[in-house]
């Protein structure tokens, strides 16, 4: 085997593409701003530089390992250079750390502390740029940008959107949309993956915390919350629980302490979605039209399809997302009580997603002109609210959700990971409802992290071809192959974010490979431990269809497309 020597230690080369990976394998944590293993190598931040035996400086992220190389990662020269680079980055950076939303989780802050910068010698003469709050999902503050390009590459390479890019040159360089347009006038789908990649506060979540507190404090408002599947496995680790722990009970308890009147589970909405979407699939299969059926749960995907592939927009399921269906049902459910008590019901949904903030404003998510979901807060904002309220999350006792919408199937829980919607629909369509059917579906190829997963099932004497895709760039590839006739499917599940909602744009950071794995595991555990594994077994759902929906499926559960 070939070896390279890192700080006097011999390290085997096992197919690593760059020296940086080898250095990290050797147990040395070199700081980086612009290196992400899933993105192309950019080599701009120069944090990862190392010195070879001839005193040359190399950027380890973009240097291939060659057998026999001798490098050092921590020489006096490198310490000096690295410190100077961070100091220069800080010199033109907004340094209002105490009021920054990224305070405490900022990579720039962390690395500046790590390399030992205690004063910045240079005057900050950068012009103050306006902050872009046009998007309902994310806020872009160019004053905090360090030009690492992580957002640019994420948007273009992972999501295939390319709403952002570098503009201008030299000291005038900025990351911005074309012609510095506001984000809401671009192709931005609001997925928030740029915010996940951003090491500083240059791209952050558009927060609605104040509105929610205002509603809670108003005695004439009934604040009803719904909590999405991916939230429960992401909040705990911010309060000291192992990554991926399901802390739903504690979240409910904390929200009750904050003053939410009713707390329900979005999984109930997902159960509704499973039933409606399966029905729709069966109808389309029977008529053999408008196939493949694309899922509609992910608002990032819906917007992507509408803007980039409008020809396929008619193939998207007419079902609202679980959030949309459920909010409409909640509003109808409380309508009578509201009138009697002179109250107003205010639906807050807690989501792992920034695009959901945009979804609730779409006219096709309104019922008779009524906005069904009033505000969306992300997991990150929920954590912020828990902290603002001074709740000791790790000490409080778990509590149960409110009824009747506090009961849901395990099939609904897995909506939070890629392949979950498909698995849930397959379960519903399966005639056999036993354990064997469950495990057969589980191993049919719907789980896992492959870019595009394919499977098929027999429905009667018809083979139904299914594809599961995550990451919008992958979705684009799939659509191209459908367009060219190369591939043919009957049902396609798309999630904008890679690995699904567990790594959504509103989830707490950082999310490394271990966190992603742990959250997926946590979600599947929710399903495994659930008493109900099939949406149709949800004991409440029949009652809701009879009493609340009452034949108005089209009005409440579907997107009003005319």
């Amino acid at each position: 085997m070939d070896y390279i020597t890192i700080d006097g230690k011999s390290v085997p080369i096992e197919g690593e593409k760059n020296i940086l990976s080898l250095i990290r394998k050797a147990g040395i944590d070199l700081p980086t701003f612009c290196y992400h293993s899933e993105l192309s190598v950019y080599g701009a931040c120069r944090m990862c530089m190392v010195e070879d035996e001839r005193g040359r400086i190399l950027a380890s992220c973009s240097e291939q390992p060659r057998p026999g190389m001798v490098i050092r990662t921590n020489t006096r020269k490198i310490q000096k250079y690295r410190k100077l680079i961070v100091e220069l980055l800080l010199s033109s950076h907004c340094r209002d750390c105490t009021t920054c939303t990224k305070n405490g989780t900022c990579e720039l802050q962390k690395i500046a502390f790590k390399v030992g910068i205690h004063a910045v010698r240079f005057l900050n003469n950068r012009k103050r740029m306006p902050i872009d709050i046009s998007s309902p999902s994310v806020v872009r503050d160019p004053n905090k940008c360090i030009l690492c390009g992580d957002c640019v590459r994420t948007c273009a390479e992972i999501q295939g959107v390319g709403a952002l890019d570098f503009a201008h040159r030299g000291s005038n360089m900025q990351v911005q949309p074309a012609f510095d347009k506001p984000l809401n006038e671009t192709d931005c789908v609001g997925c928030g993956q740029c915010r996940v990649a951003c090491p500083t506060g240059a791209i952050s979540i558009r927060t609605n915390v104040t509105d929610v507190w205002n509603a809670i404090m108003d005695p004439n408002v009934r604040v009803v919350a719904q909590i999405a599947p991916a939230v429960r496995v992401a909040v705990g680790d911010q309060f000291g629980f192992p990554k991926g722990t399901n802390t739903m009970g504690k979240i409910v308890a904390a929200m009750r302490l904050m003053g939410f009147d009713k707390i329900y589970d979005t999984n109930f909405g997902a159960d509704l979605t499973i039933l409606e979407e399966s029905k729709e699939l069966a109808e389309r299969l029977e008529k053999n039209e408008n196939l493949p059926l694309f899922t509609s749960c992910c608002p990032g995907w819906v917007k992507y399809c509408e803007t980039k592939y409008p020809d396929f927009a008619g193939n998207i399921s007419t079902c609202r997302s679980p959030q949309g269906m459920f909010s409409a049902v909640i509003k109808d459910y409380f309508a009578e009580a509201d009138e009697k008590e002179g109250k107003k019901t205010f639906v807050v949904s807690v989501m792992p997603c920034t695009a959901k903030k945009g979804e609730i404003l779409r006219p096709d998510n309104f019922t008779d002109g009524r906005q069904d979901t009033d505000r969306v807060i992300t997991s990150v904002e929920l954590i912020r609210m828990i902290r603002q309220a001074g709740i000791k999350f790790d000490e409080i006792d778990s509590e149960a959700l409110d009824m009747p919408f506090g009961m849901a199937s395990g099939a609904a829980a897995i909506f939070g990971v890629t392949g979950g919607v498909t698995e849930a629909v397959l379960r519903h369509l399966s005639v056999d409802k036993g354990y064997q059917a469950l495990s057969q579906i589980q191993y049919s190829g719907v789980r896992g992290n492959d870019d595009i997963k394919e499977t098929s099932i027999m429905l009667g004497d018809r083979e139904v071809k299914i594809a599961v895709v995550h990451g919008l760039a992958n979705a684009g590839k799939l659509l191209e192959s459908i367009k060219s006739g190369e591939a043919q499917y009957d049902f396609v599940e798309v999630m904008a974010c890679k690995r699904g909602c567990i790594v959504g744009g509103g989830q707490p950071l950082p999310v490394g490979p271990r966190t992603k794995k742990a959250r997926a595991k946590g979600i599947y555990a929710v399903d495994r431990e659930s008493q109900i594994r099939f949406a149709s077994d949800n004991p409440v759902i029949g009652h809701v269809f009879e009493e609340v929906i009452n034949g108005q499926e089209h009005r409440l559960l579907h997107r009003n497309l005319h």
């Binding site: 273009a156 959107v161 390319g162 709403a163 952002l164 890019d165 570098f166 503009a167 201008h168 040159r169 911005q176 949309p177 074309a178 012609f179 671009t186 192709d187």
Partner: protein, 160 residues
Amino acid sequence: MLEKSMYDKTDEIIANYGTEPKWLIPIIQDVQAEYRYLPPELLTYIAGKLNITEAKAYSVATFYENFSFEQKGKYLIKVCDGTACHVRKSTAILEQLYKELKLEKGQHTTADMLFTVETVSCLGACGLAPVLTVNDEVHAAMTPEKVTALIKELRGESEC
């Protein structure tokens, strides 16, 4: 929306090269040569044709000083501010131009769309310093007095 003829012309230019992303710069150079500026609508249009994002096309177009999204005057005056011209007092020439044309700081084109003043880093004619060009016609060894005369001459020329 621009006139249809401009999109037709752009289509013609694109047809000369092809629709691969690598042709972006030659295409926008030709468009700029045609209209003496790069209309933003056309950049968006070209990006669509070449299947690159609008943001990427904008990134390229703003990287090069040569591309301009603003309409330029009839006479494009490029004042050299390279080292040789600078030490031979090109700043005074620039100031005189701004005074003669009544341009504010940060303004490059006169309101009547007759003149646009730009500085360039080197025209490669250091022996003629300080030098400026009017629509690619070289004017050597400039002085503030010669600038006044030049502007007067150009104004007269455009009147008849």
